[in-house]
């Protein structure tokens, strides 16, 4: 499957990909985006099966990316990977149509629990 990983930190994009592998969810085609706008472009061109996105990004934030996709009728499974894990943020994520929110720092177990239903 194709997975878009959007984060303005290159280190974090690498960590997300590494954690997928550690969770036994590796071996997929990864498309990296530096912000929401680039992710939106990748989604339009590659039709991914899953989007893992940071929330706070310059240009187009993660929540703007998700809202734009859903407004277009794009229901690609979408999960936030963000440093903010408050209940407020989780409620906003769910209301906007996200599969869930993984708070940094995270473990491979959290990835497995949340993502395995849409990756296996």
């Amino acid at each position: 499957m194709k997975i878009v990983v959007a984060d303005d930190s290159r280190a974090m994009r690498m960590i997300v990909v590494r954690t997928l592998r550690q969770a036994g969810l590796g071996g997929h085609e990864i498309l990296e985006a530096e912000d929401g706008r680039e992710a939106l472009d990748l989604v339009g061109r590659h039709v991914p099966d899953l989007i893992l996105s940071d929330w706070n990004m310059p240009g187009l934030s993660g929540i703007q990316l998700l809202s734009t996709l859903r407004a277009r009728g794009d229901g690609t499974p979408f999960c936030f990977v963000t440093s903010e894990g408050s209940e407020d943020m989780r409620e906003q994520a769910a209301a906007a149509g996200a599969l869930g929110l993984i708070a940094k720092p995270f473990t491979a177990e959290v990835f497995l629990d949340l993502l395995s239903p849409v990756m296996t």
Partner: protein, 213 residues
């Protein structure tokens, strides 16, 4: 909760937060240092040979790295979040995050910026749980000179996002220190800072979507 004037009441929670984030990001057990312990002296006492990750000599001599961001809770103001890592610790962080033995200066800035982002997000969740409008800025990171003034750090040419946070208003900063991999990491919260050139992510519904197909 709005930006507090005195964060000492939150010290225990902040110590736990710093230890949890350092444990996860460095893969090593941190030790939170007692309030008032001179961090510099302790770093020297531990010594370079005891560090779990001995980087190249250049890493030990490298200048400290600083991360900065702000949490906005209008109208009460901004809470500044500053992270300071000795050069060797910043190098160890980049080595771990990038899985590379020879991280570049850009890698160090990215790694320190991301650590700052993680700490800032967790600080926001800890202190602003009943304040939905609170916002987290994008992080910035600089490589400063040992003993340099704050202005010199901010003026460092290699920075990520170019954000600035300058203290003002006379509020007392709260600093939490933790020993990890033989060096001391510092987390400082500064109430009522001035925003300067802090970079904020766009708000939902802002003009950022204009021009999108």
């Amino acid at each position: 909760m709005s930006v507090p004037d005195d964060l000492e009441d939150e010290r225990v929670g902040l110590e736990t937060l710093l230890a949890d984030v350092l444990r996860a990001t460095f893969g090593a057990e941190p030790v939170v240092l007692p309030l008032g312990l001179p961090a510099l002296d302790l770093t020297v006492a531990v010594g370079a040979d005891d560090a779990a990750t001995n980087g190249p000599d250049a890493a030990a001599a490298a200048p400290p790295a600083f991360g900065l961001l702000a949490i906005s809770d209008e109208p009460s103001g901004l809470l500044g979040v500053q992270v300071r890592l000795p050069g060797r610790l910043a190098h160890a962080l980049a080595v771990r995050m990038f899985a590379s033995d020879a991280p570049t200066a850009d890698d160090l800035l990215d790694a320190v910026g991301e650590l700052t982002n993680i700490l800032g997000g967790n600080v926001k969740a800890l202190l602003f749980t009943r304040s939905a409008p609170a916002r987290l800025s994008l992080p910035s990171a600089t490589l400063g000179r040992p003993g340099g003034a704050p202005a010199a750090r901010h003026a460092a040419p290699a920075s990520r996002n170019g954000a600035l946070v300058t203290a003002g208003g006379g509020s007392t900063p709260t600093t939490i220190c933790a020993l990890v991999l033989g060096d001391v990491a510092e987390l400082t919260l500064i109430p009522h800072v001035q925003g300067g050139d802090v970079v904020w992510p766009p708000l939902l519904g802002s003009a950022a979507l204009e021009g999108q197909p």
